[in-house]
């Protein structure tokens, strides 16, 4: 058989798999926008179907129409040949359609099993209105064992890292014995190792005949895990292709509608003298211990490591929002203390936090208020704030960060993730920092906006600022940074040059003390 025939044969085999879910000509309009314009999606049993598109392409809206969160304006949805029209996600769950959400909606003060069985707590006996902790524990344990998740069902949610909470969410979806499972950006808070684990779970589900809809921005993942790829752009269906033979470039071209030649902008920064010196930094309440390193002017210093390896803690301890046990900070030859965030800002530090929604934005406030909150002191005339100065500062942010917004008075929550991130980056640049601590600066941001953030970062370094950047995405660290620190188990496992290292070397270091 020739190669071509083999391919055709493969396609035929795929085609023979029964169709589980078919969404036809789905339409949805919001005031002023056509969010979905005759979108089609067909998911076959025993396959992973990737759904791709930039933020705002309509992926989430399509899924919300499936789960009845939005009522669709037109089109039909069939599950195993029967037309369905779920009114809410509960109904969807009962019919075997589950979703693992990108934004975790969990009862953080309750424990794992309470979250797993929420809404369907097992009773002690039929008709007795008392829930059985024992049954719950056993059932949770069973699911976890099957999925090789190593978590005590009685752990309180808030005590676990985001990645483990994500795994619980996945286990929950599996526990419904669902036929169709939607994963919405499941790996955005997972480390490489946990991603492997997730892929094992997905492969297992596929082999059991489930249909998986996999939404992600990460090309490499998509190409590895999926059988078919559907690409959306501006609320329209663009293409559905066999994942075999697709390339990253091709996908990006379809997603963006134009060619993105490079994923990373050219590096223009020049490295100068040592600016920040960190010596024997240890945290009081986390396992960060004895970290020493230095960072130079104009340098982009990456921080790699598994989740929970102390990357975020490192930044928080430098910035003084976490309590230090010991350690010396030296800036430009002078010892500094960075006792709290205000002290650090005064010393020229800035911290872009990991969880934008939880600790970054003031969602209810507008762009101007969000942009100027850290530099209000500079916008005063006498004891009062000057609206003119506030406006000017915000204008500067919008211009230099290229923030797309109708006005300064727009509430920040109505912007896309990428634009929100730019506002926060702008907030920090208004404080005129010399050392920028960036924690996952491109998390949950689409390809085009990521490129812009990289440009901004490199531009800042080129202006002589020191950037220390934590990221879970290794290609990003390799593409943007000059040097990379690798954290493992709260300690500094090693330091590599971005130009002559490999992902394997970093992974090996990351596992050193884990």
């Amino acid at each position: 058989m020739s190669e071509k025939e083999k391919n055709i044969d493969n396609v035929r085999q795929e085609n023979e798999k029964p169709v589980l879910l078919r969404m036809e000509n789905i339409e949805k309009a919001f005031p002023g926008v056509k969010a979905l314009d005759k979108v089609n999606l067909t998911v076959k049993a025993g396959t992973v179907h990737a759904l791709m598109g930039e933020n705002g392409a309509g992926k989430s809206t399509l899924m919300k129409c499936l789960f009845g969160v939005y009522s669709k304006d037109g089109g039909k949805i069939y599950l195993e040949g029967k037309e369905i029209n779920f009114k809410n996600s509960k109904e969807a769950l009962e019919n075997g359609v589950a979703m693992v959400h990108q934004e975790l909606n969990q009862a953080l003060k309750r424990n794992v099993m309470d979250n797993m069985w929420l809404g369907r707590f097992p009773k002690v006996a039929k008709g007795v209105p008392i829930t059985s902790e024992k049954k719950m524990y056993k059932a949770t344990k069973e699911v976890f064992d099957k999925l090789e998740i190593n978590v005590d069902p009685k752990t309180v949610m808030s005590r676990m890292p985001v990645s483990q909470r994500q795994m619980v969410e996945i286990a929950k979806a599996v526990s419904y014995n669902s036929k169709v499972i939607v994963f919405d950006e499941p790996t955005s808070s997972l480390t490489e190792e946990e991603v492997e684990h997730l892929f094992r779970i997905i492969n297992m589900l596929r082999d059991q005949g489930c249909g998986i809809i996999y939404i992600s921005h990460k090309m490499a993942e998509i190409l590895r895990i999926s059988d078919e790829v559907t690409i959306m752009r501006d609320g329209k269906w663009i293409a559905t292709k066999d994942a075999k033979g697709l390339t990253t470039d091709e996908i990006i071209k379809l997603m963006v509608g134009r060619e993105l030649t490079n994923l990373y902008p050219p590096k223009t920064n020049e490295i100068g003298d040592v600016l920040l010196d960190v010596k024997d930094l240890s945290a009081m309440y986390s396992k960060l211990s004895d970290v020493s390193f230095s960072a130079r002017k104009g340098e982009i210093l990456g921080v790699a490591g598994l989740d929970g390896s102390g990357r975020t803690e490192l930044l928080e301890n430098i910035f003084g929002v976490a309590t230090r046990k010991s350690g010396k900070l030296t800036l430009d030859g002078k010892p500094i203390r960075n006792r709290n965030s205000r002290d650090s800002i005064k010393n020229g530090f800035a911290l872009l936090t990991e969880e934008r929604r939880a600790t970054g934005i003031f969602s209810i406030l507008n762009i101007r208020e969000n942009a100027t909150i850290s530099s209000l002191g500079k916008c005063r005339s006498g004891p009062l704030l000057s609206k003119k100065k506030l406006k000017k500062s915000t204008d500067w942010c919008i211009d230099s960060m290229r923030i797309k917004t109708p006005s300064q008075e727009t509430k920040i929550r109505s912007l896309s993730g990428g634009n929100q991130q730019k506002v926060i980056l702008g907030r920090w640049l208004l404080t005129e920092p010399t050392v920028l601590l960036l924690d996952e600066p491109t998390r949950g941001i689409d390809v085009g906006a990521k490129y812009e953030i990289y440009e901004l970062i490199i531009d800042l370094a080129a202006k002589g600022k020191t950037v220390i950047m934590v990221s879970s995405e290794m290609p990003e660290l390799l593409g943007v940074c000059d040097r990379i620190l690798v954290m493992s188990g709260g300690r500094l496992a090693g330091e590599v040059n971005a130009a002559d290292t490999t992902q394997e070397e970093i992974m090996a270091l990351a596992a050193k003390y884990a």
Partner: protein, 360 residues
């Protein structure tokens, strides 16, 4: 002028937007508009109804009365508003007003009054007494703010405790000397004049001076909320405390100062109430906080946190007083008044929350 044109432009743009909508969306937009302004609509209907039933309701003297009452209740609401912006509350407000009213009255009794609580005391200068009661109010606010900010206690619990403490202090204060818990009256003329004296007359109806004080305080608080770093920080803390901390906002002091300012406002209210009521007892100020909280919520200072306007608070207090005065005009039973008050708060909160619910 230009602002008016701009506003008009915005209005017509909104009208255009509305015209472009489909039938179902139009209906939803109208329902939303009605619901979001339901409180105002209900109140306007109520005013029209009362005015038809009892025309005297809209007489000059009645309107001046409503404005005066609004002025009297305004400072306390301006104080509580800050606590609500922080997603908190302050139920110690009423008792603080009571304590400071009693202190003001006690220190400013006529020298020749028979039942004087401090018989030896000369009439003190007004400004010293004013400073004393502001300090007392601010001190209670400091305690409230400290426990909320330092130990992350819910403001409800903290102010519930201080409310009891302050009540105890009032009772103890009224037992000083031979007073034995009696009502404090016989106030010095300088005091009553300073508070209740005539500012000017409209159609022969005297407008009391405390209306002016309320206006000054409102302007001051407007500046603090909108034009100072502290004000911006307050909204940021109310919106997302953790983000505020990371952004370099001193969350601890922001919370403390919000409560201290609130306390100072109760002190001023107490000073005014002392003379306005002219006979202060342990029950002075009772439940004032419930009116103030209701006024804030009606005026759009939401318990969601991070939102609210001074103008909203003024309108809220004003509308609430209109309702109360109006119900009096209709000779509604005093006891029923409480029922109606409770219902107003409930409806106002429900309508307010509706705006912030994520629509699905």
């Amino acid at each position: 002028m230009s602002a008016a044109i701009k506003r008009k432009g915005r209005l017509s743009a909104r009208l255009e937007e509305f015209k472009a909508k489909s039938g179902a969306d139009k209906r939803r937009a109208i329902v939303d508009l009605l619901f979001n302004n339901a409180m105002y609509i209900i109140i306007v209907i109520a005013i029209i109804y009362i005015a038809i039933q009892v025309p005297a309701f809209l007489s000059t003297s009645s309107i001046v009365n409503i404005i005066s009452l609004t002025a009297a209740k305004l400072p306390i609401a301006l104080g509580i508003g800050g606590a609500i912006v922080l997603t908190g509350t302050d139920i110690s407000a009423g008792r603080c007003v009571g304590l400071t009213a009693c202190i003001s009255a006690a220190l400013l009794q006529m020298t020749n009054y028979a039942n004087k609580i401090f018989p030896e005391l000369e009439v003190m200068p007004l400004w010293i007494v004013l400073l004393i009661v502001i300090a007392v109010g601010a001190a209670v606010g400091l305690v409230n703010g400290f426990f909320v900010a330092k130990f992350k206690l819910h403001p409800f619990i903290v102010t519930l405790s201080t409310q009891l403490i302050v009540y105890g202090l009032i009772l103890m204060f009224l037992m000083i000397g031979s007073n034995n818990g009696q009502t404090l009256s016989g106030l010095d003329e300088s005091y009553t004049n300073f508070v209740k004296g005539t500012l000017f007359r409209i159609d022969g109806v005297a407008v009391p001076k405390y209306v002016l004080y309320a206006i000054i305080l409102t302007a001051l608080m407007w500046l603090v909320w909108n034009k100072t770093k502290f004000g911006k920080n307050m909204f940021a803390v109310g919106s997302n405390e953790e983000a505020a901390n990371v952004s370099g906002v001193n969350v601890f002091w922001t919370i403390v100062i919000v409560f201290v300012i609130a306390g100072a406002m109760y002190g001023i209210t107490g000073f005014i109430e002392g003379a306005r009521i002219a006979s202060c007892s342990a029950n002075t100020g009772l439940n004032y906080e419930s009116d103030a909280i209701a006024a804030c919520v009606i005026g759009g200072v939401s318990f969601v946190g991070g939102t609210g306007k001074i103008s909203g608070i003024v309108i809220g207090v004003f509308l609430l007083q209109i309702i109360f005065v109006g119900l009096n005009f209709l000779s509604v039973d005093q006891n029923l008044l409480y029922v109606i008050k409770g219902m107003i708060i409930l409806v106002a909160c429900a309508i307010d929350m509706r705006k912030y619910l994520a629509r699905k």
